[in-house]
């Protein structure tokens, strides 16, 4: 039972991270119908920036352990968001009218660019986050020991997701984002500045991705310049699983994928862990071709 509970909490924590990255994919897809292949790399850059800021500013001595994380998160969020906006300006905006696949190649180019710039600056080796960043406290939940960090990650990602959902559903700007996702032309006629909506999406998505990068650094302790691909692919899978373009779908898909992976690795075979995730994805798509929560798109004739 305790083993099961450990897998459950681990799966939820990893799933929360996937969900945060998946939100970036799904939001960009929602408004631009573009798979932003560079999103995983923005996430990776978030992890590297977190480490750099941590060591360069020496925050750990001045603030408490939780203050450090909060300060780091704030800075990483802003920096990665700036990068996201720049990416959209340089690589995607000129291709707004072009065929969808042209923008995909541009995104792949941006991904290669980001990966290599990080490799040149930081080197190809794994970098290590300090071990004593957070106290290794173990909390007892329902009589089961759970590392505090897992709870923190899960809570932080759920808080961010709920905040985003409320923002999208309840505010005027959120309504504008939803309108632009449904029909850009009509949204423009209604007086919505679609360019600003798109820029805003490239602020929110990368910021969440950067936060996820920081979480992975703190949770696993080591980061590498290629991790953007691995996590990006997983998160993209999660976004599709939930139905791409659908914000609650990305959350459900992320958490589900984290759980599937954790349980498959624990009870079936760790070597086949990644294959299980894809098998489940394929099975779900065969039954529901637009994902779990994806809407059926009417065929245009």
């Amino acid at each position: 039972m305790e083993f099961f509970f450990q897998q459950l909490t681990n799966g939820l924590a990893v799933g929360g991270i996937y969900a945060l990255i998946a939100l970036g994919y799904t939001m960009v897809y929602g408004v631009l119908k573009l798979i932003n292949f560079a999103h995983g790399d923005l996430f990776m850059i978030g992890a590297y920036l977190g480490l750099t800021l941590l060591t360069a500013l020496g925050l750990a001595d001045r603030l408490g352990p939780f203050g450090v994380i909060a300060a780091l998160a704030a800075m990483v969020l802003v920096l990665v968001a700036i990068l996201g906006v720049l990416l959209e300006r340089v690589a995607y905006r000129p291709l707004r009218q072009a065929h969808r696949l042209s923008a995909v190649v541009s995104a792949l180019g941006a991904s290669i660019f980001f990966q290599n710039i990080v490799m040149i600056v930081y080197g190809a080796k794994f970098l290590v986050y300090p071990h004593d960043l957070l106290p290794r406290t173990v909390v007892h939940l329902f009589g089961m020991p759970v590392p505090l960090i897992r709870i923190l990650i899960l809570v932080a990602s759920v808080v961010m997701m709920v905040a985003l959902y409320t923002f999208i559903q309840r505010t005027k700007i959120g309504t504008a984002i939803r309108a632009a996702a449904i029909d850009q032309g009509a949204a423009r006629l209604m007086g919505i500045n679609v360019d600003r909506v798109i820029a805003l999406v490239f602020v929110i998505g990368p910021a969440l991705g950067g936060a996820a990068g920081l979480m992975v650094g703190v949770y696993y302790g080591q980061i590498n310049f290629t991790m953007g691909w691995i996590y990006g692919l997983k998160a993209f899978t999660a976004a599709i699983l939930g139905g791409i373009g659908n914000i609650p779908g990305a959350m459900v898909g992320g958490l589900l994928l984290g759980l599937i992976e954790a349980f498959a690795a624990a009870y079936l075979s760790i070597a086949w862990k990644d294959a299980f995730a894809f098998c489940v994805l394929i099975l779900i798509l065969i039954v529901r071709p637009t994902g779990l929560l994806g809407e059926r798109v009417a065929e245009k004739v």
């Binding site: 969808r100 071709p289 245009k300």
Partner: protein
């Protein structure tokens, strides 16, 4: 205009054919790799370029072909080149089985599923599925191919073997492109609802396009196994599929000269800039963004189909 194009093609072919005599072993080998990728990219071009299906898992079929050749050659001692049809057939069969339930998926859903397949295949190979794939180390000791009693071993010999198959591929795919089948695929790419409305069995055509592409990738797998004599799962990872995807889009979807040029750029250029070691891929990424911004349809997009007024169905290249 049309003649000029042909002159360019002829000069290019002549230069290419003479190149092993002018280049050293290393550069001849680079051209061999380019040749293999041209063949692979042309086969992906049928699926992605002509039929417009977002397929990012081509390395899976390539892997099936290469492993079929490697396993049958090392265990049953069958000659490598004779295994080419077998490899192609198995890759095609594999494509048929996996594509059947997913062929109706729309754009990006198909994309992630094909990525999923390439990852599942790679993980299966690493985990030594059925105990025949040799795990993470792969399979080694594959025989060199023999043509008319001559054993092919030097890069120059391989050059002519590989580019012979590339030439055959170009010829056949050119015919395919200008056939009823090719036109049907293009119609599906442009608007599959309208195509279905005009009586094209879209699912059927999509499936055939998928299988043809896979069979060809299987053939390439044989050549790859014969050239390397060692194969390992890492040669067939997701990145390979992405490279092929980029070649087709960068060169020009549905254009044979475009895809060939794209291969030279994507595979050849990074070799040319090897002395800049670390920065070359950085530049490569930036160049890709730039190329897409300035030529979103690819470097050499296909010429629009044009027909003579006398009603003959023979397509003419647009002037």
């Amino acid at each position: 205009m049309k003649n000029k194009r042909w002159i360019v093609y002829l000069v290019f072919t002549a230069l290419l054919m003479a190149s092993p005599a002018m280049l050293n072993r290393y550069w001849t080998d680079v051209l061999n790799v380019v040749g293999l990728y041209v063949m692979l990219a042309l086969s992906l071009n049928i699926i992605l370029g002509h039929c417009g299906m977002f397929h990012m898992g081509h390395a899976a079929f390539y892997a099936v072909g290469a492993y079929t050749t490697a396993i049958l050659n090392t265990t049953c001692n069958l000659p490598v080149l004779w295994l080419m049809p077998v490899s192609g057939l198995l890759a095609g069969l594999f494509a048929l089985v996996i594509a059947r339930p997913i062929i109706h998926l729309r754009g990006d859903y198909l994309l992630i599923v094909t990525i999923g397949f390439v990852e599942i295949v790679r993980i299966a190979l690493i985990n030594n599925v059925f105990g025949i794939t040799g795990g993470a180390n792969g399979i080694f000791g594959i025989d060199r191919p023999t043509v008319f009693g001559m054993k092919i071993r030097t890069p120059a010999q391989f050059f002519y073997l590989i580019w012979f198959f590339v030439a055959v591929t170009i010829f056949l795919f050119h015919k395919l492109e200008h056939s009823r089948f090719g036109r049907a695929l293009n119609y599906i790419r442009e608007d599959d609802v309208a195509a279905a409305g005009s009586g094209i069995d879209t699912a059927h055509y999509k499936l055939i396009a998928f299988v043809i592409g896979a069979v060809w990738a299987g053939f390439c797998g044989t050549l790859f196994a014969a050239k390397m004599t060692i194969i390992a799962p890492e040669s067939f990872n997701f990145w390979e599929s992405v490279l092929l995807f980029m070649i087709v889009l960068l060169g020009g979807r549905g254009s044979i000269p475009g895809v060939i040029l794209g291969t030279f750029l994507v595979i050849g250029l990074p070799e040319l800039f090897r002395q800049f070691a670390t920065a070359r891929m950085l530049v490569f990424g930036a160049v890709m963004i730039g190329m897409m911004i300035f030529r979103p349809e690819g470097i050499l997009p296909p010429q629009p189909r044009a027909y003579r007024l006398d009603g003959s169905a023979e397509p003419e290249e647009a002037a």
